[in-house]
Symmetry: C2
Subunit: 304 residues, 2 copies
Amino acid sequence: MMNNINSSETALLDFSVWAAKKQAQIENILDSTLPPANTTPQALHRAMRYSALEGGKRIRALLCYAASELCGTDTKVTDAAACAIELIHAYSLVHDDMPCMDDDDLRRGKPSCHKQFNDATALLVGDALQSLAFEVLSQPHLCTQVDHQISMLNTLAKASGSTGMAGGQAIDLASVGKTLSQADLELMHQLKTGALIQAAVLLGGVNGDIVKTTAISVYAKNIGLAFQVIDDILDVEADSSTLGKTAGKDADNNKPTYVTILGLANAKQYAQQLYSNAINALMPFGESALRLHELAELITQRRC
Amino acid sequence: MMNNINSSETALLDFSVWAAKKQAQIENILDSTLPPANTTPQALHRAMRYSALEGGKRIRALLCYAASELCGTDTKVTDAAACAIELIHAYSLVHDDMPCMDDDDLRRGKPSCHKQFNDATALLVGDALQSLAFEVLSQPHLCTQVDHQISMLNTLAKASGSTGMAGGQAIDLASVGKTLSQADLELMHQLKTGALIQAAVLLGGVNGDIVKTTAISVYAKNIGLAFQVIDDILDVEADSSTLGKTAGKDADNNKPTYVTILGLANAKQYAQQLYSNAINALMPFGESALRLHELAELITQRRC
């Protein structure tokens, strides 16, 4: 029977094995990086672990590992980078779900942090997860080339701040009930989701030469936007149980999305275009960019 | 008349001139570091500037500069360190004042961030100020010794996170209405206030040898605790207009303080003891530790 599997199926199988292995790896790293639940302050540590462990598809960590394979980045460095990226992502979800922001009760199929604990704890969980991300990435003797480490820290800080993820959230908040142009919506998502996805790829590829760095930047920018376009499509098409979060939320909140601006069919076509741009950027690297290629597929074909 | 000023008065005059100069310097650095209010996202940047500029005594920045003078740290490095520390401090105030935390309407004599803007903006302001602190400290080519830069980033991240400032806040929250031992109260404040004050001194003194680093660590630990003991005393003795924040808040909130545990007289005596410990640690360094010495005095003798 095995002989009947064609090469495309083999690649697919390989990818899911690779992804599962990397997902387990990042889970282990997060588990050992997050302070144990029985250390002071226990309530905070318990809530941090609740929010950062056992959750999500770890797309950002996978992108980090995939870029690392293309660029030959050291395993220890990539582990720290992937961990830091996932901590920043986890913090952003905790704060985004809070009542004063998206007020979402459900995250990754379980009660969001402020529902499980309380608002004050959720606030501190997000704050402490952000600090922990920078602690992980600033650990002594991480990189043989210390300049690389500084560069990773700076990239992550910029991607998280007011001209990155937090800035995107601010534009999102200000846009509720407003009509946005596609360019404005693009800027919002480029910051809100794209910046951290781009950082994941760049941190994983920190060891790359200028040609590779330029290519993975283009890849990351396109895949970051595609991720958001698909998110907007899923918000309309999927139901809450598949999505693991409340579906139809953006429409209910009168938020502009790619679907409201472009319409469903054009939004799907746009996601396809972004996918093609990302794939084209990887062309020169053939098989060594396989994982990045497969992740682009995963992102644009996901159903949740 | 000038000739009549005795040496103690001259030193005092010198200190206030030095402090005013450094306060103006850190204000300028913060002003040029914070994104301009007219850049996207404008609402967020305006609120970040509102929260981080024109406020406070900049005690942490002054401690950073004073330790830098003792240890001969490069000016550019110290400026970045002082700026990062003040950004972390500003973020913590914004989040602490939020309704789900201390719910304080007044900060530095003006409406706190969430009162002036709204809760969501305050949440994002704190998040983005924290990221900006790490961005400032991870700027390329800051230190000739890149290991020093990594060490500063790691110290700041630890001081801010769940085993530092955010952890202290979590213990504080959990302690409302409870009876704490002095040891537990000490741990809480060591994390909540002490960790960042200690980081300010250590970052400023990053260039110091092992003897100086050990001494300023002892100094910083004692001065950090003294700062909190005085805070508790002022919460009882000062009024809101002098304090620039709501007085009597801790007592109203049924929070354990040094005054509730030790009594007012013993709390004052304890602050004096901590001051002496700090000063003794500076003994070997004579005049080169003058600013640290003077800051210890300022902290223990402050009236607001």
